[in-house]
């Protein structure tokens, strides 16, 4: 454990050095996410000019929802995105071989090696938006913020585990672009409050494909009366998914070592 922490801080340092090397790239990546945040904000602000509620959420609540979305997404971008995005490329180039020859857990190496340090800027922006949106709420309970300490990690675990499983298919299939497209669509489902969906889809998003864990559940903990059973379920199942991703990786590796040339 201690070794992994030390290793992780070495990864962080190396990533920061590498990111600072490309100043233009550093800034564009922050800009990209600002555009993306704006897109989400513009969509909802515009629609709320013509209606009061969407899926039972008011505009103030929706702003909090977006704040949580920005924060979770920024964490994901910092911690995992660069790794999982490049996974199929690395497998194709045979870099996986060199990784597997290292005395470190290969899932850890593949998922955590490269941090997107530029995205720390986005985390700050996202957090500011969240704080501002919370300050606009008339009856916000500050103590509810503690829920985020467990629910945001649980949301992150869901994004990570699902994306990792999708990316791992690169080991089995040589081409996995279409699966990646499928993943982005799934992720998009999580970018809207769960209550806008038809009942069967909502149930699906709270169970087998828990995209609602990513933003909806943490946002609910800030906005509504806490639903302890739901939160417990989210924590339990997000850890479960992490384990599933581990099993899937073991399966993929078995496939790799018996099929690759």
């Amino acid at each position: 454990m201690k070794k992994y922490l030390r290793l992780y801080s070495a990864f962080f340092k190396a990533s920061l050095i590498a990111d600072l090397e490309y100043r233009a790239n550093f800034l564009t990546r922050i800009a990209t996410d600002i555009f993306w945040y704006l897109a989400q904000i513009v969509t909802f602000e515009t629609i709320y000019r013509h209606t009061n509620l969407i899926g039972g959420w008011t505009v103030e609540q929706m702003r909090v929802f977006l704040g949580v979305l920005f924060v979770v997404d920024a964490f994901y971008m910092i911690l995992f995105h660069d790794n999982l995005d490049r996974m199929s490329e690395r497998v194709r180039k045979g870099e996986l071989d060199l990784l597997l020859a290292k005395p470190v857990n290969s899932q850890f190496m593949l998922s955590c090696q490269r941090l997107g340090t530029a995205m720390i800027g986005n985390l700050l922006i996202g957090t500011s938006w969240l704080v501002w949106s919370l300050s606009q709420l008339p009856d916000f309970q500050v103590l509810n913020l503690f829920w985020l300490l467990v629910l945001i990690p649980s949301g992150l675990l869901v994004v990570y585990s699902c994306r990792f499983i999708f990316s791992s298919t690169a080991v089995i299939f040589t081409r996995s672009e279409n699966l990646m497209y499928l993943w982005f669509q799934l992720y998009k489902l999580g970018m809207r409050p769960d209550s806008i969906y038809v009942p069967w889809l909502r149930i699906l998003l709270l169970t087998i494909l828990p995209m609602a864990f990513i933003v909806s559940i943490p946002a609910r903990s800030l906005l509504f009366v806490p639903d302890y059973a739901l939160f417990a379920w989210a924590i339990f199942w997000s850890l479960g998914l992490l384990y599933v991703s581990h099993l899937f990786w073991k399966f993929a590796l078995k496939f790799y070592s018996s099929a690759s040339s």
Binding site: N25, F35, W36, V42, T43, I47, L182, I196, V198
Partner: protein, 234 residues
């Protein structure tokens, strides 16, 4: 197509909670048709693959073989992209067409030809922007992220997210004055009955002046890049 379905769900939820039958003067069906066609238009009117290839080519230095060909770099990739877009348009057209027919959503198929002409005209502008981004690759490494940023920016201005007429003034007027609404809002608005033909004509005009402006910029950027490229001989 999934994107369109998520947008459709959003509009259904909006109308479910709304007290009125109309939003911005249009009924639910109009928005559903808009969401479905917008997803389709947005995919046609954006260039990822060819822009990446242009950057890659400049980055890796394999551009040399293009420089000696009679086709210029710009025309070579423009013709490739147009060909590709034409084929994908014809095939993917079936989906929004089938969906809007099946659910009886407001769509006027006779308006499609002129709208597609508009979008393909807009693609020339898109390609000029690609050339500008690619020219930056002469000076910097890793320009790919600029493509991402630029395309996201254009997406924001295109009207895929919401019909631009819902946006309050003066933002609405600004967005309509820019050429980028020709990617989604103008064509989709016209075939789903939000807009009249005069706005399509205005679209052709705004694309034309933008091509002139950005075209001039791209020439400057390209020459600057080539000068550096030849200069270092890398």
């Amino acid at each position: 197509m999934c994107t369109a379905l998520i947008e459709v769900t959003l509009w259904m939820a909006v109308f479910a909670a709304a007290k009125t039958e109309l939003i911005g003067g249009f009924p639910k069906e109009s928005y559903l048709a808009y969401a479905i066609w917008a997803a389709f238009m947005a995919r046609i009117s954006v260039s990822w693959m060819y822009e990446f290839r242009m950057i890659e080519e400049i980055d890796s230095g394999s551009i040399n073989h293009l420089l000696v060909r009679p086709f210029t770099f710009f025309e070579y990739y423009l013709s490739q992209m147009m060909g590709y877009k034409l084929v994908t348009t014809l095939f993917s057209l079936i989906v929004p067409f089938a969906v809007s027919t099946a659910f009886d959503l407001p769509t006027d198929a006779t308006k499609l030809p002129i709208v597609l002409l508009l979008v393909f005209y807009y693609l020339i502008l898109v390609h000029i922007l690609s050339l500008i981004v690619a020219s930056i690759a002469f000076h910097l490494n890793r320009v790919h992220s600029m493509t991402v940023a630029k395309n996201l920016g254009l997406w924001l201005l295109s009207g895929e997210l919401v019909p631009l007429d819902l946006i309050p003034s003066p933002y609405k007027e600004t967005l309509l004055a820019l050429p980028f609404c020709n990617a989604v809002y103008i064509p989709v608005g016209y075939i789903t009955g939000r807009l009249g033909i005069e706005q399509v004509y205005a679209g052709f005009a705004s694309i034309t002046w933008s091509i002139l402006i950005f075209g001039a910029l791209s020439v400057v950027m390209w020459r600057w890049g080539i000068r550096k490229y030849v200069g270092t001989g890398a």
